[in-house]
């Protein structure tokens, strides 16, 4: 039984996913991929999107085997009570990790680029409070807010790109494959980790009311996200060249670099303001999933009483996870990406495999 009665449409879900991936990817992916793949880092998100396909496949597969059930319920049915609860516990334990990190990355970014004097707690706390309110109002509100905000976010991405066209230098593409294909695959680990966040579908698909076109909608959402990530990488490369990985936030440098006709400059504040909409959707989506996970894992009928305590827990995690900005950036680096991949991709994949095997064995038994 779902702890929330709300319903969203498949396209709303697709729209929610876009900032869920891009809001933080836009900050970290260009320099992370550049670090391994050099010039050819724009290829890495393309390889990485394979993981997105896998995550979508697992989510849709589980959903068709057990319609109307989130992955947490499915795990108890597939694995049995105790192993199922253990499986759920991994996620129950992992979400505050991830959400804490997202909030922390948000806080560090804002404090270093926009509000250097404001205490980190205020920056992160206000955002968490707003997101918690959003989540408490239900999945329908989360879906609606993301519909509005994602439009702005997409506009922002296009805006930076258009305003920078004059400064771009496409020659930076060459030499193509300077060190061969392998580095681009290594570089694909971090975009892959971001794409593995598509597993949120396994939690949110039960809330979708029209299941007809879910597969094509989700795949086109993946294509859009992958294109956005490639485009971000490309324009960082064209603008900053080999220096991309020497900056903490290359996209921010790009936004600061905009100078048109002597007056259209210093617009980074607007860029940050619009970006906040994106991170708001991202935190809301994960916070929602966290509370849903917790409610189902604990067997609570409504998730609503859990929202504020769990949000507070996430806030605490932002301090438990790391103590400074280098720490925060090391937590989004490659080793951490592998951690993300294990939980968001390998575990659900294993569950799906077991579910498939069980289904096949069950059929055989019936036949015999």
């Amino acid at each position: 039984m779902l702890p929330d009665k709300g319903k969203i449409s498949a396209s709303q879900l697709a729209i929610m996913i876009f900032p869920t991936i891009m809001a933080t990817a836009i900050l970290s992916v260009p320099s992370l991929t550049m670090h391994y793949a050099g010039h050819d880092m724009w290829l890495s998100p393309i390889w990485g999107s394979v993981v997105g396909v896998a995550a979508i496949g697992i989510s849709l597969g589980l959903n068709s085997l057990y319609p109307g059930k989130t992955i947490i319920e499915v795990s108890s049915q597939v694995l049995g009570w105790l192993p199922g609860k253990l499986f759920g516990f991994v996620f129950f334990f992992y979400w505050p990790h991830l959400i804490g990190l997202i909030i922390r990355v948000y806080g560090e970014f804002i404090s270093s680029n926009a509000l250097p004097e404001t205490p980190l707690f205020v920056i992160m706390g206000t955002m968490t409070a707003v997101c918690a309110l959003n989540v408490r109002l239900g999945i329908e509100v989360v879906g609606r807010t993301s519909q509005i905000f994602v439009t702005l976010l997409a506009f922002l991405l296009c805006l930076i790109f258009v305003l920078l066209i004059g400064e771009l230098n496409p020659k930076e593409l060459l030499p193509f494959m300077e060190k061969g294909l392998l580095p681009t695959l290594k570089g694909a680990v971090s975009p892959a980790a971001w794409f593995s966040e598509y597993i949120v579908l396994a939690f949110l698909l039960p809330f979708v009311h029209n299941r007809k076109n879910v597969t094509p909608i989700m795949l086109s959402s993946l294509v859009v996200t992958a294109i956005a990530m490639v485009a971000t990488n490309l324009f960082c490369l064209f603008l900053l060249g080999d220096l991309t990985d020497s900056f903490a936030y290359p996209v921010m440098i790009a936004a600061r670099y905009i100078t048109i006709a002597d007056f259209l400059q210093h617009i980074e504040a607007i860029v940050i303001a619009i970006w906040i909409f994106g991170i708001f959707v991202k935190i809301s989506v994960f916070l929602y999933i966290f509370t849903i996970t917790a409610a189902q894992w604990l067997g609570v009928k409504s998730y609503k009483p859990l929202v504020f305590p769990l949000s507070y827990l996430c806030m605490v995690f932002t301090y438990w996870l790391v103590s400074d900005r280098p720490g925060a950036s090391s937590l989004v680096s490659t080793s951490a990406n592998v951690y993300t991949l294990v939980i968001l991709l390998v575990l659900p994949a294993a569950l799906y495999l077991i579910a498939l095997l069980k289904r096949m064995l069950g059929r055989k038994k019936k036949r015999s």
Binding site: E117, T118, L174, P175, L240, G241, D242, R256, I258, T259
Partner: protein, 397 residues
């Protein structure tokens, strides 16, 4: 009973909200608490880095417009402060102690580095300018022949500040237009070299205050591996700009053999294309110059309506370009062995594998590289006049 409880808790909550509003003024930073820095200068003397800030004086700028230019210097809305330190960060720290307001570097659009400071290497300055949060990556970078602080101290009669005049000059394309980010990229690239416009101070008009004058671009400062090595002056600097694809807004006299007088051509478009080639292990570079221009002065007696004459001028013009390019190449390859024109980047893009193998002995390859200069120049316009003007007794013939 229950509604009363809700009311009380609501009142309590509202009073808490008021507390939130109070914090609004807690770390306010108003515009008159800030010293807005328009330009930064970096000097080096007596083993110390000197950091200079050109600070905007807000009060004065208002009074100038209302009272008119009763004062001898019409501008005078900036001041400079200088501090020295063993590192640039230390200098920054000391600089703040000399200014009563908090320094704000977010509007610093110009960085001037003296050649003396450039000799110590740009690395320290670049790291600072790209790390300290407020500096803009789009700031234009110049060098100064003399001290950078003297350039910043100028009060340009035409512009709001000398920083503004430097920025406008960069936008006009006088000399090379290099932003902080481009400079860092240039130094970090395989060639490791950079060129910057060099600024000098034109003497003040007689009767004017000493500072009421303008900086002007003269020559190009050349940097090798991040260190200042040499200044190229005209005519070599023209060749340097030509090969760096930065030649703009230039008028060049062209002389024909056995012809008295000269044609002056204003170039509307100059494009230089580098084509690397590696044939049988021999590295070569093709330089192709494309240019369009118009005649603005004709002191010869020849008529430019004559196509034969026109093509002769074009040929002479191209030869002049080749000459300039060769001089500039001689300077870079033989005299300095500095890869100023970024040949290394070209070869890396051309064939990354071979480039990587030969990266070690790149300088030897570079010094002995054959460079072939070709070009295509067109005179698109000969101005308002067809025949030469101002020749005595012209009409009677």
């Amino acid at each position: 009973m229950k509604t009363k409880g809700i009311k009380y808790s609501l009142a309590f909550f509202l009073s808490l909200l008021c507390g939130l509003l109070l914090s609004g003024c807690w770390d306010r930073n108003e515009i008159n608490d800030l010293a807005i820095v328009l330009a930064t200068g970096i000097d080096y003397s007596h083993q110390k880095v000197e950091l200079t800030a050109q600070i905007f004086i807000p009060r004065k700028s208002g009074s100038v417009s209302s009272t008119g230019s009763s004062e001898s210097s019409p501008s005078g809305v900036t001041m400079i402060r200088t501090a020295e330190g063993s590192t640039i960060a230390e200098a920054l720290n000391r600089l703040q102690r000399k200014v009563s307001r908090e320094m704000f570097w977010g509007h610093c659009e110009v960085v001037v580095i003296s050649e003396q400071a450039g000799k110590q290497g740009l690395r320290e300055y670049l790291d600072f300018l790209l790390r300290y949060p407020q500096f803009r990556e789009h700031a234009y970078v110049f060098t100064s022949g003399g001290e950078a602080k003297e350039v910043l101290a100028l009060l340009d009669p035409l512009e709001r500040s000398s920083a503004e005049s430097l920025r406008e000059m960069a936008n006009l394309g006088l000399g090379s237009r290099v932003t902080l980010l481009e400079l860092a990229q240039s130094i970090a690239s395989p060639s490791g070299s950079a060129i910057l416009s060099r600024m000098l101070i034109s003497p003040a008009d007689p009767g004017q205050k000493k500072l009421a004058t303008t900086p002007y671009a003269k020559g190009i400062s050349l940097f090798k591996d991040g260190y200042y090595v040499k200044t190229a002056l005209e005519p070599v600097s023209v060749g340097v700009l030509l090969l760096s694809n930065e030649l703009n807004n230039f008028i060049m006299p062209i002389e024909l053999p056995q012809v008295k007088g000269a044609f002056s051509i204003r170039m509307n478009k100059v494009k230089t294309k580098l084509t690397p080639s590696i044939v049988n292990g021999t590295w070569g570079m093709g330089v192709h110059i494309e240019s369009e221009g118009e005649v603005v002065l004709n002191t010869t007696n020849y008529d430019l309506a004559n196509p034969v004459m026109l093509s002769k001028v074009e040929e002479a013009w191209l030869n002049r370009f080749k000459e300039l390019a060769e001089q500039a190449l001689q300077l870079a390859q033989k005299d300095l062995s500095a890869d100023i024109y970024k040949f290394a980047d070209q070869f890396r893009r051309y064939n990354a594998g071979i480039w990587k193998k030969n990266q070690e002995n790149w300088l030897t390859i570079y010094r002995n590289m054959e460079v072939e200069i070709t070009g295509n120049v067109i005179i698109t316009d000969t101005g308002k006049s067809i025949e030469p003007q101002g020749i005595p007794h012209q009409a009677s013939n």
